[in-house]
């Protein structure tokens, strides 16, 4: 769940959010937002504080906060009289406590992109106010000070779905600068929806970093007591400050229970559930490590180790005219034609099964390849490899100019093709770069425990669920 990076601030508009009949009513009785009012309406008497109206709600009601703390809506056309009996203005201030500095502790840089990793709530309006400065974060997650000295920098204020090349490039550049300046680790606060896209492109743009680069977010916003945000943040900061894994990693809940987080490689991770806490999974492989605020437990040894040098390769090349074509039966060739005609230079196909599409598309694919469009095949099954030699269809497609992208995830292949085409247009060079793994986006082997979608209802799985807390 990505949270809007909105800070509601009291403005001079004392009819904030009100339109149409609601606004007219407030004007008629000379009252506004933060007026304590007595209302006579067709449904009886009400008393409360007028709150700002959400812009997306209808324009026929006004919102009242009752003395009990509950909000209610009153239909504007039911109101016969309204009288202001007082005013109580809300003010928004996050308590800041100075983040303690300890020369013995590592320095960690936290970049913000817009998602609210930590936040507090304004009880009068319900606005979620992001807590982001070190002082604010210290106020809400004081445990962070036990781990490191924290600095923060808010780079953008966008929803995760609005992340794009401009943000990727700036983020990569700032991370590079920060690494060269000597930070012990980098944490990136990010909305979860496209966290795996950003993790993938950062893996390609920032190569051989000497320190961990940890992406983190939350599935339950931190204004709720059951939020995963505080644990996620603690784990991410710990991984950045103390961890030995100098790669781009995603740090999110392992199980839905509050037990441990997982560190996923940025090129093999994917958001797999629209709302679960444990939504991020490593596909066709296993995660790099388990982590809790107490300890980091590596699950494999083939990771890049932390180094003391400050060398890092930052390559922010990016070609925007690339698309993912999610194949479905009966896809018509004019779609492919349109992509080519609009000047796209790269297509990542998410094909069925081992990487297939239907025959009517062949002429369009050939036309695209002839026009110099680079076409790569991935699988919409997500797990497993492209196997284009197995059936005639696959062999035909390769003849037409489609290159199999092995077991690269479609989104990762998309990000990589954007990055590669930002550097070269030479088909051989594009192919070489695409198929040479930077960080396990293509793996040589899929381990036996890389594909696990266990099936509920089966006795042994039920037994597992009963005995192992998830």
């Amino acid at each position: 769940m990505s949270t809007a990076p909105t800070t509601t601030t009291a403005t001079s508009d004392n009819l904030k959010g009100y339109r149409g009949p609601g606004r007219a009513l407030l004007q008629r009785f000379g009252v506004g937002v933060w007026s304590e009012v007595e209302i006579e309406s067709a449904r009886g008497h009400f008393r409360g504080l007028i709150l700002p109206r959400s812009e997306t709600a209808d324009d026929r009601h006004i919102v009242l906060k009752l003395g009990s703390g509950y909000n209610v809506g009153i239909a504007a056309d039911s109101v016969s009289a309204m009288r202001e009996v007082g005013r109580r203005e809300a003010h928004y201030k996050i308590p800041e406590k100075e983040f303690p500095y300890d020369p013995q502790k590592p320095n960690v840089m936290l970049f913000g992109t817009g998602g609210t990793i930590a936040s507090r709530l304004d009880y009068r309006t319900g606005a979620v106010i992001p807590a982001f400065s070190p002082g604010e974060l210290y106020g809400s997650v004081p445990e962070l000070a036990d781990i490191c000295n924290l600095r923060t920098e808010k780079l953008f204020g966008v929803f995760s779905e609005n992340m794009g090349p401009e943000q990727y490039i700036k983020l990569a550049q700032r991370i590079g600068e920060e690494i060269r300046a000597g930070t012990s680790g980098v944490v990136i606060g990010h909305g979860t929806d496209t966290m795996h896209h950003t993790a993938a492109i950062l893996t390609f743009m920032i190569q051989n970093p000497p320190v961990p680069i940890i992406m983190v977010g939350s599935q339950r916003s931190s204004d709720r007591p059951s939020s995963d945000a505080a644990i996620n943040l603690q784990c991410a900061v710990k991984a950045a400050a103390e961890g030995d894994i100098a790669e781009v990693l995603v740090c999110m809940f392992g199980p839905t229970s509050d037990e441990y987080n997982l560190l996923h490689r940025g090129t093999r991770v994917r958001k797999m559930h629209s709302s679960y806490r444990s939504t991020f999974r490593t596909l066709s492989d296993i995660p790099v490590a388990m982590i809790s605020p107490k300890e980091i437990i590596p699950l494999r040894q083939d990771y890049k180790r932390r180094r003391s040098d400050r060398e890092v390769t930052v390559n922010t090349a990016f070609e925007e005219k690339v698309t993912i074509l999610y194949y479905y039966p009966n896809m018509l060739p004019d779609l492919v034609d349109a992509i080519v005609d609009k000047g796209y230079r790269g297509i990542v196909i998410a094909g069925t099964g081992l990487g297939h599409i239907n025959k009517p598309l062949y002429p369009a694919i050939k036309r695209a390849a002839d026009a110099g469009v680079h076409i790569y095949m991935t699988v919409q099954t997500l797990w497993g490899y492209c196997g284009m030699y197995v059936y005639d269809t696959g062999r035909d497609l390769m003849t037409l100019g489609i290159r199999p992208a092995s077991n690269m995830l479609p989104e990762v292949a998309y990000m990589k093709l954007c990055w590669v085409l930002g550097q070269t247009d030479d088909p051989a060079e594009v192919e070489r770069l695409m198929l040479t793994p930077v960080s396990d986006e293509i793996t040589d082997r899929e381990p036996y425990n890389g594909y696990l979608c266990y099936q509920g209802g089966i006795p042994e799985v039920q037994e597992f669920l009963r005995t192992i807390k998830r």
Partner: protein, 661 residues
């Protein structure tokens, strides 16, 4: 009120007026819906079985002023591991907070609005769902979704009105399985069930009034026929205060008859605590001058033979002793029935410091045998206790005992101020114990997952049209109809309210006849073991309808109802199909004179010399036998008349059927 407090049974209304008792109620009532409030799970299915367990922790969020509120702070100190037991039939991913809410259940909303209308509340134009924080873990999100439907209503009570502050619709919480040490376990089946909470103003002045108002509210909700019944389906929280005291909430009392004693004890507790505060002030112990200290005393008590302490230390635990200056002699002050001031400390240590195994503390005022006299002496010396000081000893692990000592000091400070704002739990013996700090008003904030929902006038009009009328109005109306007194209450209950009115208005049946059939005859048939309660309203209606059309005699009504109740379901049949089947299988056509004549002759022949004292008795007996042969086909009066005429015996002209007892 002078102390000592009078016993419960001797308290008069005047005594309660003198202490300024004020009682308000918060009545929670589960609604009879098919689904839960914010997801599509079935409502009302309970099971102690579970398929999986999920572990969560609750973390307080900052309140408006950037501080944790009292409850939050307390719950953070307790650091509980909260385990949720999950059963696949009763819970989906919504309940354990891995899926956002679905739209509110329409059925639940309609029922809540129906009750809001009966309470004469001012209804809102738009329902806004709020999140009300609960950090005890009883709801996995850490908050309860709840919304106000109406404010400022009232109900008639004796010769006055009791004001209803508000009615909200909300989701029910988990059922607690256990709470031991740092582990709390919940069952999630009840979680998310639709509830309404009706809050009264503190308008009750005696415990008895509170119980009566509780009954009125319960009957009002039940009269709709749309609420759940049974243990735990309706629960009341009682808010109690006395003059100079504080509102304390006694939580979750499932049985109204228990409330008076609970209220008495809470009133007594508050008066006692005020008295203790007075004593403390006399001794110069005030919030700003409170002196306390604590020490690890494991070595001092290491050889104690006091069993709870001895076995705890044997497990490697530690003991700590708290000194409270000026508290000497007060810990034995009674606060509730068979409860002393010391329990205020013990409760807090249990809840906040998680020292859940009782006894969890001993103190220097105790009369019973605990530590040896010389051990107490050593402790007094160690902590530099003077005459008039109190010592309390706790045991457990290092972290929990430190928390316990600090909590004891905190509670001591509160004692010098007055009565802490508590949420208290009702205990079986009528006393209450500390549950948590009463949450502040700042724990409420809007639910960003759900948009406001307009409560349209059409919807209210539709619900108002189907209202059963308030219970008290209906009772008055039934009394006017001169119904037998024992039938009035049952007819107001949900089972009969609507059907009774319908039978009267649509079939023009005699009110008394319907009342007697539905209440008295049904009761008799139930006793006789007939499955009479499986009859649907449609079936009962159809049987009465047959009677009003002349297809069935008056006696036949109860007889046919019994036949229908025993009849197996008709495959593919709907509504009153079983009634049709019964009519098809039996002959209920009006009895002809010839048939009657023949039957009387036959019965006369089979009397076998049986003797009767009078001809009248003989006529009655004979009529009864004949009626047995023709149930539903003729009226008793007619048969009696016929038989009497034939025997030239006594005649009866009233329409009372011949007794067949």
């Amino acid at each position: 009120m002078p102390l000592p407090f009078k016993p419960f049974d001797e308290m008069t209304d005047e005594d309660y007026f003198n202490i300024g008792l004020k009682v308000g109620l918060e009545v929670h009532q589960q609604l009879l819906t098919r689904r839960k409030l914010f997801c599509r799970c079935p409502a009302g299915r309970y099971s102690d079985e579970f398929d999986a367990v999920i572990l969560r922790h609750m973390r307080p969020t900052l309140s408006e002023l950037g501080e944790y509120d009292g409850t939050a702070l307390m719950e953070k100190k307790t650091k509980k591991n909260i385990y949720y037991r999950i059963h696949r039939d009763t819970v989906c991913t919504y309940e354990f907070d891995d899926t956002p809410p679905f739209f509110i259940d329409d059925e639940a909303l309609d029922i809540a609005l129906e009750i809001a209308l009966l309470l004469r509340l001012n209804l809102v134009g738009e329902l806004h769902i709020a999140r009300k924080q609960y950090l005890d873990g009883s709801i996995p999100t850490g908050f309860q979704r709840t919304g106000i439907l109406g404010v400022n209503g009232w109900i008639p009570f004796r010769d006055r009105r009791v004001r209803i502050r508000q009615l909200s619709i909300e989701e029910d919480a988990c059922r607690e399985v256990s709470d031991v040490g740092h582990d709390r376990v919940y069952l999630t089946d009840r979680l998310g069930m639709p509830l309404i909470e009706t809050v009264t103003e503190p308008d009750m002045r005696t415990p008895q009034e509170a119980a009566e108002v509780g009954q009125v509210l319960r009957r009002l909700a039940r009269s709709t026929g749309h609420v759940r019944t049974g243990y735990g389906a309706a629960r009341q929280d009682v808010n109690v205060s006395v003059t100079g005291g504080q509102r304390c909430e006694i939580k979750g009392t499932p049985q109204i008859w228990r409330n008076p004693r609970l209220i008495y004890n809470e009133a007594r507790r508050q008066c006692s605590l005020l008295y203790i505060r007075g004593l403390l002030h006399e001794r110069g112990v005030r919030p700003e001058s409170l002196q306390w200290t604590y020490q690890d005393v494991t070595t001092v008590v290491a050889k104690s033979s006091y069993e709870p302490l001895r076995s705890a230390l044997a497990l490697g635990n530690v003991a700590k002793c708290v000194l409270l200056r000026g508290f000497g002699g007060l810990l034995n002050e009674p606060t509730q029935e068979h409860t002393t001031f010391a329990k205020e400390f013990s409760d807090r240590v249990r809840v906040v410091a998680c020292l859940t195994q009782l006894p969890n503390l001993i103190h220097s005022d105790m009369a019973s045998e605990t530590l040896a006299g010389r051990d107490w002496k050593t402790l007094r010396r160690r902590l530099r206790a003077e005459h008039g000081d109190a010592l309390l000893v706790v045991w457990g692990n290092e972290q929990d005992t430190v928390a316990a000592c600090e909590e004891i000091a905190l509670r001591a400070k509160e004692a010098t101020i007055g009565i802490p704002n508590d949420t208290r739990q009702a205990l079986k013996d009528g006393t209450n114990g500390f549950e948590r700090v009463l949450p502040g008003p700042d724990r409420m904030y809007p639910d960003t997952d759900l948009p406001p929902l307009e409560i349209r006038q059409e919807r209210l009009d539709r619900i108002a049209a189907g209202l059963p009328g308030s219970v008290w109005d209906r009772e008055a109306r039934y009394r006017d109809l001169k119904l037998p007194p024992d039938t009035i209450r049952p007819l107001c209950a949900p089972r009969w309210a609507r059907l009774f009115d319908r039978l009267l208005s649509e079939l023009e049946q005699s009110a008394k006849f319907v009342a007697v059939t539905l209440v008295q005859r049904f009761k008799a048939m139930r006793r006789a073991g007939l499955p009479i309660d499986n009859l649907s309203d449609d079936e009962i209606f159809a049987v009465f309808e047959a009677h009003s059309k002349g297809l069935l005699s008056r006696e036949g009504v109860a007889h046919v109802l019994a036949l229908v109740a025993r009849h197996p379901p008709v495959e593919g049949g709907t509504g009153a199909a079983r009634v049709a089947a019964v009519f098809a299988e039996h002959d209920f056509s009006p009895l002809s004179e010839a048939e009657l004549n023949e039957a009387v002759t036959r019965r006369l022949a089979s009397l076998d010399g049986r003797r009767f004292e009078t001809a009248c008795q003989k006529a009655r007996y004979l009529s009864g036998r004949v009626l047995e042969d023709f149930v539903g086909r003729t009226d008793g009066a007619k048969v009696v008349q016929y038989v009497s005429a034939r025997l030239r015996a006594c005649t009866r002209t009233d329409d009372t059927p011949v007794s067949r007892k």
